[in-house]
Subunit: 113 residues, 2 copies
Amino acid sequence: MRASASQARLIEAAPVFAALGDPARLTLVSRLCSEGPLSIVRLTEGARMSRQAVTKHLYALSDAGLVHSERSGRERVWQLRPRRIEEIRRHLDQISLQWDAALDRLRVLVEDG
Amino acid sequence: MRASASQARLIEAAPVFAALGDPARLTLVSRLCSEGPLSIVRLTEGARMSRQAVTKHLYALSDAGLVHSERSGRERVWQLRPRRIEEIRRHLDQISLQWDAALDRLRVLVEDG
DNA sequence: GAAAAGAGCAACCTATGGGTTGCGTTTCGC
DNA sequence: GCGAAACGCAACCCATAGGTTGCTCTTTTC
């Protein structure tokens, strides 16, 4: 494939990386990973910030397609989006392959880390 | 391993994700991937911004350990940091494994995407 | 040795990200 | 039906990320 094509695909990943580029959001993702679907108040417990801040982070993750929410009674329950996350994984794998290829090429050029 | 341990490791990755969370920086990484070590003017060619802006992005990537530079005569040449990038790959793989485990668990709970 | 190429430094500007607070609205529990 | 719980909405605040411009300094080049 041409470099520009793989580059375009790489750049599409920017919003996802950006969404994951915040400790608070990574914490939320981690909790949804280990604890399953949770409401906002649940997610706010243990987080060192207000419910509104948590909500904003959740919508940021949602915009990147990483999580998904649904109203349930007076609660809104958030959970990971498996399919989307698998897509991203494949994306990362693809990037990794390109990196590997690039690194191999670079190792031929120079031999330091 | 305990959830808090894997969570701590995940959160350490935040600065790296943040560094990659910008289209301009992903473009720079991509170019260093496909074209090898490049000077600042080279990297500025084709980029829709000033040399200073490119420089700032390069130092952002450098702070995350993704690239590395060296003065060569009147030029400063930037390149990827293979070892560091491999570390990050292993990191991503680890995160992927955790995600897979979590997704398996979630699939047991609910059957939608 | 003078001009030009390549960078570094610093000041500055603006939009936005991350956070808060206050208040209104819906839903649950008794 | 009434209070409390869970949330949505909106305004606001502040730091900083991302970008520019202008000037200086060093290194090539001819």
